[in-house]
Symmetry: D2
Subunit: 318 residues, 4 copies
Amino acid sequence: MRKVLTHFYHVPLEHRRDDGRRIASYQKIRNRSDRRMCRWAAYRGEPLYLEELVTSPAHSLIEQSHCATRAKTATNGDGFGIAWYGDRPEPGRYRDILPAWSDCNLRSIARQIRSRLFLAHVRAATGGGTRRDNCHPFVHGRWAFMHNGQIGHFEHLRRPMENMLADDLYAARTGTTDSELLFLLALQFGLERDPLGAVAEALGFVERLAEQLGLKVLVRFTAAFSNGQDLFAVRYASDRKAPTLFAAPMGPQGGYCLVSEPLNDDDNAWAEIPDGSAVIVGENGVDVRLFSAADAPLREPASVAPVARPADKGVQLA
Amino acid sequence: MRKVLTHFYHVPLEHRRDDGRRIASYQKIRNRSDRRMCRWAAYRGEPLYLEELVTSPAHSLIEQSHCATRAKTATNGDGFGIAWYGDRPEPGRYRDILPAWSDCNLRSIARQIRSRLFLAHVRAATGGGTRRDNCHPFVHGRWAFMHNGQIGHFEHLRRPMENMLADDLYAARTGTTDSELLFLLALQFGLERDPLGAVAEALGFVERLAEQLGLKVLVRFTAAFSNGQDLFAVRYASDRKAPTLFAAPMGPQGGYCLVSEPLNDDDNAWAEIPDGSAVIVGENGVDVRLFSAADAPLREPASVAPVARPADKGVQLA
Amino acid sequence: MRKVLTHFYHVPLEHRRDDGRRIASYQKIRNRSDRRMCRWAAYRGEPLYLEELVTSPAHSLIEQSHCATRAKTATNGDGFGIAWYGDRPEPGRYRDILPAWSDCNLRSIARQIRSRLFLAHVRAATGGGTRRDNCHPFVHGRWAFMHNGQIGHFEHLRRPMENMLADDLYAARTGTTDSELLFLLALQFGLERDPLGAVAEALGFVERLAEQLGLKVLVRFTAAFSNGQDLFAVRYASDRKAPTLFAAPMGPQGGYCLVSEPLNDDDNAWAEIPDGSAVIVGENGVDVRLFSAADAPLREPASVAPVARPADKGVQLA
Amino acid sequence: MRKVLTHFYHVPLEHRRDDGRRIASYQKIRNRSDRRMCRWAAYRGEPLYLEELVTSPAHSLIEQSHCATRAKTATNGDGFGIAWYGDRPEPGRYRDILPAWSDCNLRSIARQIRSRLFLAHVRAATGGGTRRDNCHPFVHGRWAFMHNGQIGHFEHLRRPMENMLADDLYAARTGTTDSELLFLLALQFGLERDPLGAVAEALGFVERLAEQLGLKVLVRFTAAFSNGQDLFAVRYASDRKAPTLFAAPMGPQGGYCLVSEPLNDDDNAWAEIPDGSAVIVGENGVDVRLFSAADAPLREPASVAPVARPADKGVQLA
């Protein structure tokens, strides 16, 4: 039987109540033929070689990227990335657009580098071309961020979302994905100061924006992010169909691993984190909290007002 | 002596007068150690194998990309691209981030494909990472565009320039270069309707914008673009130091070639197009006109007003 | 019901007899979870845009490379390639190591180029790293070649196979795959002079070599190749479990398409070519013949004798 | 004036005598327009961030790869690689075919990883396509190897050189360069047991082989290699025109750096290692020795006898 989360951390009452329902709903979700899911794994604890999550286990990320066994998903062949914290304040990062399974560099780096906190991601493009700038994890200063999920109608939301960004964050955007933009928005809303609050505000902003533009609200967001000290993860969806999130103890002396899909078939090892949760892996172990997008209204309509521009493509500027 | 342009087209009086000075100034420019120039070549005429401009001549684009002989420039190793018109209304395109000289695909494609109108470019990155989306030529609908030059203070101008774009053109931006953005602006200003007028307006817009933001105006722009019928080129700089532009008859029956640098050492073959010119290669041969950026003022300050956004990164939306 | 081959060509008696058995055996094969199959398509006929086989159909090669629908195979994300015959004697070729589904260049090239004879391949690496040199089709002079299948114990057979090659063919080997080596061996055995005979000899050589070295003989070979005039294909396996091969009329005026997997679900359109067959698509339509590896003995043991070399890694050359 | 080597190690008498002549000859060499030189740097000492040699200095390897300042060389845009020793017995490695100057991964890795022994290389292809398998350093077991130089007539020597390799080393060859092959030959001749002796034998073997085949002997070889304990370098050429080699103290507490070209303009810092030398950087500091290729004759002609193969491409094996 699947291990109960309370074995290693406090589970909020609300979660306990509907634990059964949630796991059942997870089973249903992962039987859908959802072809384009990313997968990721993150670790915080005593230094561990990256390969222990990335290449070694029977169901490591690389193996998963090649042939997903649990869900009838297609492969994740649109690139990969790893970010790890070492001696520097900012994380190191390696990402490339090859399928992860055929990248010798990744194998070698994952075998050499040990880290007390790292994030790894394999990508199945939902939008944004296959190029390095669109590969997770995204990095800004000390922060690293990776994501599995999607924003519905992103093609209509992208521009007003980008308009929200301060100049330095706007300039920092180099790719075209919704994931990178959510990360930059979270930075804009104060990720440095209040990580989970800022993410909640960023997600709420997107939901309010969609409403305001008359679009169906759809945000599915299972993400991990870190400042080099704590490892955060969120599982949230506006339609309660968030991609899965699991946790397990790993490595020597109280390390923890968070993953989008269990890395092996040992059901006892992996505890599912319920939809509507945030996880903090820090000095004092694992903490799980209720999480939902902030529901504050957009400050004022002006903030997403269209920019004046020459009507009709070609009118004189006079 | 360098061939006089009048052999094959009408030269405006203004150009004739200072022909000597201009060529002298070109000599000076190309002796500077300007390390980061792109190079390009374009052709219109009876169908020609791409390799005749791209790989075959002693000083073909590929050879130039590897070891520039005339100017003491560094190499152009940040990618390349070709766009060619065939049976389809829109051009075909092949671009990659490898140095052009080591790309077997390019060699094979250039050897197989014949086209009546094509553009080829090797890139030396002045800004924007090395990735396919940043490689010229850029293509939108039937239009292809490539560029050698730069916009001064682009880091400050980028955002208001992007704000000018209509939604569909904003969404069409996939890279981060000033070149792609100038192309999209030209489309915004009516490239389809009035190609040279739209480019003049786009350049004028950038100059006015820089003035308005209190920045030193610096636009250097030597570009070629086409709709599949006519081949256009512009040599213009706000400081009269535009990258060079040359023309020569090429191929069977009245074809012409436009290049940023002569493809061989035959000085008689290549006529320099003076700074401040536009060239149209069409049904009736080559036409050269005076060209400068439009000097109309920005329509109103509002058009580049900053978008309202949460002050101070993290203020509540309420 | 599946269309009978005799509608458009003569089927050898031997094939007719066991047609039922063979198709049944095919059904079994494609239900196995054979994760690492390449897929290919080839065309000969009136000029056709490459995209009609490569990107357009519901089950085009690109779509197949991403999510194989018939067989429960994994994806083909280890690169792709196309070779097409145009005006030149030798074919053009474009190949890259990205997954085919994320390559914009491929889409554009396939949309622009029309050819009367072309080969297209998506790769799932069975051996040999992911790099361009290992992507099919392989090209030598006027010949193009692509392959789906495998040689058992290739790691032991590779060196004596390479030793067989004449110096120019040895020097022409740039990759590490069994497929490229089979192609070079076929050239060695006279592909130019007697295409099917040379392939039969190359396959027979590999089988004899395996026997001589005491290895289990296993050669599975479903390949297409061309000199720019005729299109050849072979379906053969030493264990009668050759990867599938199908044919269908395609395009205007008597063109034919050969594929490793049907490009759409119209079972009536695709005729299966039985195991142990060779197909020639030429001026006079399609011809199917019995095919098997040549069973002539190796000329003499000397031909694969190990080369004298310093014993024990490090003995003096004296 | 250039620092005298004796400041930090013992210089053999033979070297001292002609020091002046050698440096003069170096000046001449680097004024030749030798367009296709690789460059490398290696370090052994207290752990140092890779970036100190790879990206940081004014004339770091990356800067050199982009715009060589001393010699009028072209750029090194055909890939790069780093190998570093950490906790594992075998080195880590990262290599790619992009120009080094545009690779964000390299920058990040070089900034994160500290190592007590590492090798870094930027490539200018003299032969072998641009692909990862052809990028230095080459790695086999605990050994890493990188090279600047060339073998004359390699196209004729390649096959008999490959024939010399034991099966496991033959199978380990994945690229097509002369450099990788020299490394494998050195392993064949006992690199593990007697590093400098094995390299001397490998070079001698190539020279004898060229003589035997009636080819002009030309081997230029400036290489660095390591087993994770000691750092070795060799500067040798059959025509005494070996690419340059320099040494300098670097990093904290007695570390040393070996480079193909000085990393900065401080002539006092860099001591030139004379042609015909081997360098060992180990526990006890730097040791420089005379070095030349072994002149033992090839053991017997049989060892490079051509393999029997079907005459005339296509003769029956019977």
